[in-house]
């Protein structure tokens, strides 16, 4: 009788160990993608590397709280953003909501107007340099940049971004809308100069 009660326990332990190893391998397989997003969410490479280690240490400790079948990459980034806030590196604050007058066509119109007759949309974009984009992204305030990074660079859905940042989906949409416009305005200024302001 004693053996029959111990058997399920042994099986349970083995199953749990197998699930844990699988979880850890799946999480590690995503480290490249998590790092790519993390690099844009935090200030420096060193900070990103520290946070990656803290994130994975916590994830491996609390792997049971991950619900299989849900988005593991989003779950890891949620941990990372929470740790980042805990460290006081980021303060959650109400974003500055000054009106932006420019619409979505602003950047194209600026680039087209300043070009030497080149209006082909394939080539207009080539008037931007990699530096223009990188510099412009760094100018977008954190609250807006986080959402732009998650959705446009990390390929997360609005719902995933809302979960990662712990904000309502409507806030994701409004910050994305505004963040993209700030980014475009900054790219226009970088590529065309002050006349874009």
């Amino acid at each position: 009788m004693g053996e029959t009660t111990q058997e399920p326990d042994a099986r349970q332990i083995a199953t749990e160990a197998r699930d844990r190893v699988r979880f850890e391998e799946e999480a590690l397989a995503l480290s490249d993608q998590v790092y790519r997003v993390a690099r844009h969410l935090v200030g420096s490479r060193e900070e990103a590397e520290d946070l990656m280690q803290e994130t994975y240490a916590r994830a491996f400790r609390s792997w049971r709280s991950f619900q299989p079948g849900t988005n593991l990459r989003a779950w890891l980034l949620r941990i990372l953003t929470n740790l980042n806030i805990d460290r006081g590196r980021r303060q959650q604050r109400a974003p500055d909501m000054q009106p932006l007058e420019e619409g979505d066509y602003f950047l194209y119109n600026k680039l087209e107007a300043s070009g030497d007759g080149v209006t082909d949309e394939e080539h207009v974009v080539e008037r931007l340099s990699q530096n223009d984009v990188v510099a412009a992204l760094s100018e977008v305030p954190h609250d807006f940049r986080d959402v732009v990074v998650l959705v446009d660079i990390g390929d997360f859905t609005y719902a995933d971004a809302a979960q990662i940042l712990d904000i309502p989906i409507g806030t994701v949409m409004s910050r994305l809308h505004r963040g993209r416009r700030i980014l475009k305005q900054a790219m226009a200024e970088s590529a065309v100069g002050d006349e874009a302001a």
């Binding site: 790519r36 280690q53 979505d104 974009v125 990699q130 660079i153 994305l176």
Partner: protein, 79 residues
């Protein structure tokens, strides 16, 4: 009250259209406008190219090998 400007409306819905979050009706309206309006179509193509360009421009170096190794070492030791 201002007159309805289909190009202004298209500009407003351009990003949600590209994010595929419009309703079927809104999406059909946007597609119909893009079909007939070369001004907006040109800007739509630019936006699509721009997204790709931004993604490539900000691509960071891959995760450092040493960091990846450190993460592996954080795994729970097998009993």
């Amino acid at each position: 009250m201002t007159a309805y400007d289909p190009c202004s409306h298209c500009e407003e819905v351009m990003q949600p259209f590209m994010d595929r979050v419009l309703t079927d009706v809104e999406r059909s309206e946007a597609e119909a406008h893009l079909e007939e309006c070369s001004y907006c179509r040109k800007r739509y193509r630019f936006e699509a190219n721009l997204r790709q360009f931004v993604r490539q421009a900000v691509a960071v170096e891959p995760i450092p090998v040493e960091l990846k190794q450190k993460l592996r070492e954080l795994r729970t030791p097998l009993q």
